[in-house]
Symmetry: C2
Subunit: 734 residues, 2 copies
Amino acid sequence: MPSDHLKLTFTKLFEPQSVAFIGATDTPGKWGFTILHHIFQGGYQGRLYLVNPKRPAVFGHPCVKNLAEIEETPDLAVIVIPSEKVLATLDEVIAKGTRAAVVITSGFAEANEEGLKLQNQLVARAHEGGLRFVGPNSMGIVTSFPHRLISTMGSMKPRPGRVAVVAQSGNLGVTFMSRLERRAIGVSRGISTGNQASLAVADYLDMLADDPKTDIIAAYVEGVPDGRHFLEMTEKAARVKPVVFLKGGKGTKGAKAAKSHTAAVSGSHQVFLASVREAGGIVANSMDELINMIGAFHSNPVPKSNRAGILTLGGGWGVVGADSCERFGIDLPDLPPDVYKTLDDILPSYWSRGNPIDTVATTDISTIPTTLEELFRSDAFDNVLYLGIAYLAFQGRRYMDKGPAHGPLFDKIGQFLVNTEYQMLDRIVELRNAYGKPFFPVADLVSRDEVFPENIVHALEERGIFVYNAPWQAAHGLAALLERANWLKRAQTARTVDVAPDRDALVEAQRLVRNAVGGKRRQLAEHESKRLLAALRLPTTRESEAASVEEAVEAARLIGYPVALKVSSADILHKSEVGGVALNLATDAEVRRHADRLLKQGKVLVQRMAPASAVELLVGLTHDRTFGPALVFGKGGVETEVWADTATLPAPVTPDQAERMIDATRMSKLIAPFRGRPALDRAALVDLLVKVSRLPELFPEVRELDINPLFLYEKGAMIVDAKIVLKNGDENGR
Amino acid sequence: MPSDHLKLTFTKLFEPQSVAFIGATDTPGKWGFTILHHIFQGGYQGRLYLVNPKRPAVFGHPCVKNLAEIEETPDLAVIVIPSEKVLATLDEVIAKGTRAAVVITSGFAEANEEGLKLQNQLVARAHEGGLRFVGPNSMGIVTSFPHRLISTMGSMKPRPGRVAVVAQSGNLGVTFMSRLERRAIGVSRGISTGNQASLAVADYLDMLADDPKTDIIAAYVEGVPDGRHFLEMTEKAARVKPVVFLKGGKGTKGAKAAKSHTAAVSGSHQVFLASVREAGGIVANSMDELINMIGAFHSNPVPKSNRAGILTLGGGWGVVGADSCERFGIDLPDLPPDVYKTLDDILPSYWSRGNPIDTVATTDISTIPTTLEELFRSDAFDNVLYLGIAYLAFQGRRYMDKGPAHGPLFDKIGQFLVNTEYQMLDRIVELRNAYGKPFFPVADLVSRDEVFPENIVHALEERGIFVYNAPWQAAHGLAALLERANWLKRAQTARTVDVAPDRDALVEAQRLVRNAVGGKRRQLAEHESKRLLAALRLPTTRESEAASVEEAVEAARLIGYPVALKVSSADILHKSEVGGVALNLATDAEVRRHADRLLKQGKVLVQRMAPASAVELLVGLTHDRTFGPALVFGKGGVETEVWADTATLPAPVTPDQAERMIDATRMSKLIAPFRGRPALDRAALVDLLVKVSRLPELFPEVRELDINPLFLYEKGAMIVDAKIVLKNGDENGR
């Protein structure tokens, strides 16, 4: 639940009974002119107050000189004045008692250091005065209930509807809402977040989760200021409605552009995707995909399974459709005998006899609705794809074209085809409503664009059935529904694990870390790093540091042969590359010889050789710019970077998440039974992953951890090498 | 160059002065009716003869009863009659002297065995009579020069132009050509290949390569009957014009649909893609991509480099655009000082100061053409992207919308914005023509669709400038141009290698293979397989087969310790899994002990232990269903399948291709200097790959080869294990 204050903000921001528009002007070219024009065009039915000290009226609408002149307290202030005047104006707004504002003005954090300072002042002043605001540097907001308010720089005409749009880029948001309108999908609320100074994406998700007028949320995000809160609010919203994201700023160049755009800092793209998915968000890769996914959620219930039946009017579409279903993990079962029989009776002798069902250019178009009904009716299919909707009408329209062979006969044929398509449309709506199965009709773009008295595709979309432009888009839409269905199922099975550290060892290790930080050290040596892990009762190699050859021999005897010797230095990253490691030493003499050599580089670590392992794993912690501490798992050993076979999630993780991280890598195949050898101890690995992911809670000074390699056996695991990087002074201070 | 006969076919098929339409009817619902309607609508200006024994006239056009009644020899026959009558009719056509036909009729190889037989008879009769034909099961053909002929089942109106379309699915082809028309891109020839019985995709590529009316080829392919010829013709065409493919039947389901669709057999998708790219083809993944790539080639010259400058009217588009460029390897250099200075003078103080150049919602739209000119002018950029074309006109159009705030002032503003956009359009065409740089304007779909007296995007496309719908599509279009530019460069540097086998060893090995085939064996044992490789002077381990313990000891002494012992059986696939291998034996006693054990499973192979290698590689031959023998390279060892890190190309390969295969895998990073150790012998690997790829020429009976592992050293390589699968009797017979 959002705080009461956020509930108040929601009401004032999205359900304003009165709006003060500060910066009203009738000078074309100014944004105050354009936005006001859009408010008028949108036909706002609440009370609108125009504020301009210099003009008696704008667009024939009387102006007040300042807020004090308004007789009531406006619910919302829209501010479109030069940046240097915004702070003083905000004070007036607060004084008036208004508790929500939209700051269109730019020139703040996105511009320069000075702008950032001004923005911080703005936030401080506003929050002190109990006001929260959209922007600055926002393109505006849209709301549909109870009064339509279109208060944006970009022109658009969204219909009232069930989709909320949150956009960190105003023009993308405007374009997106206009494209929804063309697909007969309406908008409940639309927000251009701007710099997210007072209200961030997470806050909008928080509010929209509770908004009864919003059934689906679409969000374009470049970077989020508080990653953890963002994930929590994503999950909060996802539990009650679909949340679909489009992410900008994926690569380094994009991230650079993102930074200069809204002063946002993009985190690593892969981590973002994995994290959002864990929180129940669906991720689109382009605006087209976003539209298709929103369309899929808008017009369909949750599918019962991934089994789909395809009817195609053309073989090529069928091929492409089957390819797409396979790509997205959608099952195309064979036709059950009853369906087969029905179709075999009505289709031409050379019909496809399989799924996809290809009507093979049949000229008897009455078979199409019958075939479609079979797919809806049969229990073998929980989803129905129809490739070629609008094609008959399109062909019919062409018969009616003027041209050398035009005439009444052709008009008649054309009209017949168009009518047939419309009748089929009625039948489809009936079938969809009767059977309640997710339905994915595809019209190729040419058929879609054909303009009839009433465009056929548009007619279908007006009746709430979203139509896709290509088979892969339909398959992708269904895949999004399935992804959400799976998440909803698994979201109920999350469980946690008690870390149960060794309390004494923990206190010791925490002291060690504090001392290191106090000594301005940035790294812990291997044996120090392992003490932290051992405090979590994680399995580490027996070992001991030695400063002389004789100490080394003594340690080796105590630990038991065979042993390994390593230079014990926090500064050497790849010990083996500098000859700093000697493995498998079995006698005192061998230890002496190598210790003598290695001690020239510093102290040595004498370590019990771990038994050979079938796999070398990497387990680590990294500090993600968006989400903070994150757990990394994957292929370890010297080839880690070559294969880049890793999964990352914000820490801590649940055991279920650890399982999914393992499954997301190819190492899962090597942990399973492999070429005759039994499975390795996956349970021990999951336990270790969960515990390592809790390390940052117990040791907040730790910034990064590398366990590499981790050995995994048929029973148990062994941390063979580990390294910890500490935060620097600043990071610890905050 | 195509054969003279193919040249004749081309002329008769695509430039017919006269056409006999066999199966003319005025019964609506019959394909003979529909296609004839399309021919008339298209306004064919040659001589058209309608053949129907039962009617005096169709559509008021007189009919002849049979071909004999026609006074001339028609260049082309279009056949739309029931399948059982096609063979006899073809005889008549041949008798008349006609040498080209289009067989629309279906019910042949795509339907069943009987249909296949009939189709084979058709081909035999036709080729005997000197006639070649499109189809059967074709949706027809289109040609634009010298006379327009639209002889297709699907209705369409392509304008005459420079793009040829070859489609293995008729409806995809029709949709594609209609979509080109909407982008103001014309068609030279269009072919629905049908079953490819007499003329296959390769033949069309062959003819279109030489067609002076065709500058670009687009092809939708599901499967090709003669993969090698197809690749040759792809390369022939690619040397003189861009060839862009869309491949259907990628997955197993798609391939299944493909088979039942046109009786085509799809080869493995990855091999297809790699092979086509090596031959100079460009590959699109969807029809949208195909359109964008054709558009890119249609409106642009070859780019000088991958450096691009972006102007964006909105920050979000800039972020997405930069992401896309990074994804496709397009470089966005920083702004050079002169450009920076010019822009700093004219743009708002808070402009982006980088590439992409974001005008940050400037209201002074005169800066847009100036900024664009800077990008065209500066040597820092060889390509220009403009994100937001048509946006001004779109906004302007909205000002003119009726609504509560409509009025003369808003009309004026709207008109001003629209006019400005049109003036900019003129300026853009000037700039593009003056500087000759590839240019990629992007209009979001909403702006594109806005209907003006003259739609702005359409106006630009009518002037030959293709407009993309999303930033990533523009980047992808540029990437296609760059891919072709790179191929054209490298196509000139191909070189071959003399295999220079050991002649005596070769004769011996060929005898070995013949004996094995004679004995109905399907596999060669390891030592036999290595004899074939040794005949190519490839490095194999010293080894000897032994049938007794004493023979094994003697062999080990002769070969030199340490040795490995392996069960010598062609039937055991994974010897190590059944305990059939003993490694690193250093003494007679060890050899005795293991030989005694292993000899219970059959003879043993005594092998010199190869020195340890930093990498284990896989080199193999496979038999691809489309292209036949293909070379495979990648990660070897027991984890080969886990990582699936392989590249495959049709054999034989050139040294350059071998280099690219290595680079296509992650093994290239391990072959390079790695973590302090020097590079491995890449030259030896390339030599080995090229020679192995020639093996099928010397041993046509070999179907598959596995060299796994191949060891690679700083100097030289060693084939440690090898296994050969022979073709079965049928395969050898053909």
